[in-house]
Amino acid sequence: MAATRTVQFKIYRYDPDKDAAPYMQDISVELEATDHKLLDALVKLKAKDDSLAFRRSCREGVCGSDAMNINGKNGLACLTDIDSLKGPIVLRPLPGLPVIRDLIVDMTQFFKQYHSIKPYVVNFDPAPERERLQSPEEREELNGLYECILCACCSTSCPSFWWNPDKFVGPAGLLAAYRFIADTRDQTTNERLDNLEDPYRLFRCHTIMNCVDVCPKHLNPTKAIGKIKDLMLQRAV
């Protein structure tokens, strides 16, 4: 266990209410032995300087609030061990999205893409009295898909999403698209594939795999995208 120590930070700061331009702030913080995660340090920093703005909520990696760029790589502050990071620790907002303030980005475009894949089960049969049946094997197809926390680490690490955030669905949205295609209760696989049949929406994925590298939940959007591409091929022949 790490003892009391001082940790140095370089943090991207920008408050449009008072700053003409963004700047990097050098700041350090004393940490106690019980501070393990980057979020612990950010909370301490905020106690020192209450103007530092970042999102956070559950502090256990399930809500997806505190995604940021940490020493050049996207991740969740609450799941990142401080002692695993080389100092000074450089914190920036997620790349590729407009910055609102400090480490807070405008996620409108990210959620617009998520919504564009119609993220809900569509089933035209009248609702039965009881649950729709699904075998354990069918349910297992959803593993590695439904656990997404919409933190945007993946999409904002993807060069294709940086270039075309308005046209390319991005890894998070495509993972969700496959989650509904893979669900035996959904009856609109064809429509879902039609919705992605476009030079940009799906096919801008060039399997760079940054998404897989950064996902804090260890999910694999590239694999899901590959499966959608396979289904499109199967449908074409």
Partner: protein
């Protein structure tokens, strides 16, 4: 300050499970509905629920809603209202099936039905033996549920106001609720949301304690707003300490771990729950298990160098079970305890987890003061007190609570809105000014108290004076101390005056809400001179006349705390269910 105004049929504050379940009801009825949330909906704290949602589906073995009702009444130590409990347990199978139809990825049995696991206090045949009643999606049930509810709302085109913080409840002179006033985080702009019906689904306030499984956002905003608007808070002395928070970190480890066969052990390696609950053992009710753990630690049988925790052992389980049924727990243990539970036990301590009390409602989700309905005002989920959890909540009944009462409050709101005349009353200006004054004070306060330090002082006071075991003298001192902290809260000062995403301002406004909850808790706990459920005092011990220290003659009643003058009042427990016989008072044992 310029205040914009928007008008809706309904406004919902909070986009966790309860708020979003209600929103489905309203949006699908074609009503113009605004849902306000401090965070993007899928970041609400429902997301952190792990183990399951209870419903007597009987997928693995016979079960019945009446047995579920019995367990809930017993779990509540008879403080729960039996009409609301019957309603909830009877509705459970239907709301869980609806959730499945929305797309919830429940785990499955070989026959394709929803997988169910055992959980604390879930018994068949009126307390006979454990039954599988908790419907689960691995150990991520809350996450799966919250996303399914959000997705259904996307389909229903619900209008969300994301990253808006409600500041205060707006009431007419006759007490009717007219909506809320709220602030947009991104701009600092303030808007009045006027509506015929207003629902609070703002969650709990676990952050009043220093050690809590709760998220940073769980600051009791709905309770603070209700208290300031003259609504009493019910049964606030009852807080659930979850037996298994990760020692040091506070992060939750689901009771589902024990449901899958996990065992609590002391420093001697002993399965100590056999001594405290010979029948249910590790699956006794949460208050019982938490007290047993603290007793073990206090008597020197804690583990680790400081002997300050016990161990949750699943090393005897098939690693495959851990990987498939408890994958999230394994991740949390590795991340926050530094142990892989396949190889070594997890260090755990009781940690503040759930607020049984809240804004008083009936089972239709209507807010009631005594039996008087407050027109236009509804509450559901953890911020509400229906009361189904009484003095102690059963595991998995919280996710059920938000489905059942999210739905029933939504239905009540639809009926109310449709029966109301079109004209809406003007909002009295002084109601708006009251909220603006709190924001203005933060812009001008000088030489005030530091928000971080004041909040920490409140959390320490609650932790030390109002924990798992409570002491007469400590409670009395606690009331004085929390009143001192309250004075500091009235003078908090922030350095950041920016209009844009000012989280310092947000935290100061949240502290205004937390302190109301903390004070309500301490004052209510100090006054209740019996032991019941999660509220156990040294001066109300187990005696033949009062087994477990419970005093039904004097204390079988709900507490009501009013902010004005910190006044207490009481109301009777509803012992009469809707259709079945009363579940008669009994001494609680597991």
């Amino acid at each position: 300050m310029k205040v914009a105004k928007r008008t809706f049929d309904a406004v919902i504050v909070g986009a966790g499970g309860a708020g979003m379940r209600a929103a489905i009801q309203l949006s699908e009825s074609g009503l113009k509905t605004a849902v306000l949330s401090k965070v993007f909906p899928t970041r609400s704290h429902t997301v952190a629920a792990q183990g399951g949602v209870s419903a007597s589906l009987g997928n693995s073995e016979p079960d019945h809603w009446h047995w579920h009702m019995y367990d809930t009444v017993k779990g509540s130590d008879w403080l729960g209202d039996q009409d609301a409990i019957e309603f909830m347990c009877k509705q459970a199978p239907q709301v869980v099936v609806e959730l499945e139809h929305y797309g919830m990825p429940f785990d499955r049995l070989d026959n394709g039905k929803i997988y169910q696991r055992p959980f604390g206090g879930h018994m068949s045949n009126f307390g006979d033996k454990p039954v599988r009643r908790a419907c689960a999606a691995a150990d991520r049930t809350g996450h799966a549920m919250l996303h399914a509810l959000y997705q259904r709302n996307v389909r229903a085109n619900t209008q969300f106001f994301v990253e808006w913080m409600a500041l205060d409840l707006l009431r007419a002179e006759d007490g009717r609720v007219l909506g809320v006033i709220a602030m947009e985080m991104e701009t600092g702009d303030i808007t009045v949301f006027q509506a015929k019906a207003t629902l609070f689904a703002t969650g709990g306030a676990g952050r009043i304690f220093a050690s809590s499984t709760n998220a940073f956002i769980n600051t009791g905003d709905g309770l603070g707003m209700a208290a300031r608007a003259g609504i009493p808070l019910e049964d606030m002395e009852f807080w659930q300490f979850h037996p298994t928070g990760v020692a040091g970190a506070g992060v939750l480890i689901t009771e589902g771990v024990r449901g899958e066969g996990g065992i609590l052990r002391n420093s001697a390696g002993e399965r100590f729950m056999e001594r405290y609950a010979p029948n249910a053992k590790d699956l006794a009710s949460r208050d019982v298990v938490s007290r047993a753990m603290v007793t073990e630690i206090n008597e020197g049988r804690g583990c680790g160098p400081a002997k300050d925790h016990v161990l949750l052992d699943i090393t005897h389980l098939d690693p495959n079970t851990i990987m498939t049924r408890l994958p999230g727990i394994r991740e949390i243990s590795i991340q926050f305890a530094g142990v892989d539970p396949i190889k070594a036990p997890i260090p755990v301590v009781p940690t503040c987890h759930y607020q049984m009390g809240g804004i008083p409602t009936n089972y239709l989700g209507e807010v009631v003061v005594h039996d008087q309905v407050v027109p236009g005002f509804y509450a559901a989920g953890e911020c509400a007190c229906a009361s189904v959890h009484g003095a102690n909540r059963l595991g998995t009944n919280s996710l059920l609570d938000l489905l059942v009462f999210g739905k029933s409050s939504g239905e009540s709101m639809v009926d109310f809105i449709k029966s109301e005349p079109a004209a809406v009353q003007d909002i009295p200006q002084e109601q708006i000014d009251r909220a603006l004054a709190r924001v203005d004070r933060l812009d001008t306060q000088k030489d005030g108290a530091n928000v971080h330090e004041t909040r920490a002082a409140m959390q320490r006071t609650m932790q030390n004076h109002c924990g798992v075991f409570r002491f007469k003298d400590m409670l009395a001192q606690g009331v004085d101390k929390i009143t001192e902290v309250e004075a500091a809260v009235r003078q908090t000062e922030i350095k950041d005056k920016s209009k844009v995403w000012n989280t310092a301002r947000q935290e100061a406004l949240e502290l205004d809400n937390l302190i109301e909850v903390a004070k309500a808790t301490m004052v209510s706990a100090n006054a209740r001179t019996e032991s019941r459920g999660a509220h156990v005092r040294d001066d109300a011990p187990d005696t033949p006349q009062h087994p477990n220290g419970r005093d039904d003659e004097n204390w079988l009643k709900h507490t009501l705390w009013y902010k004005e003058g910190s006044r207490l009042d009481y109301k009777p427990v509803k012992l009469k269910p809707l259709s079945v016989e009363t579940i008669a008072l009994k001494t609680r044992a597991y």
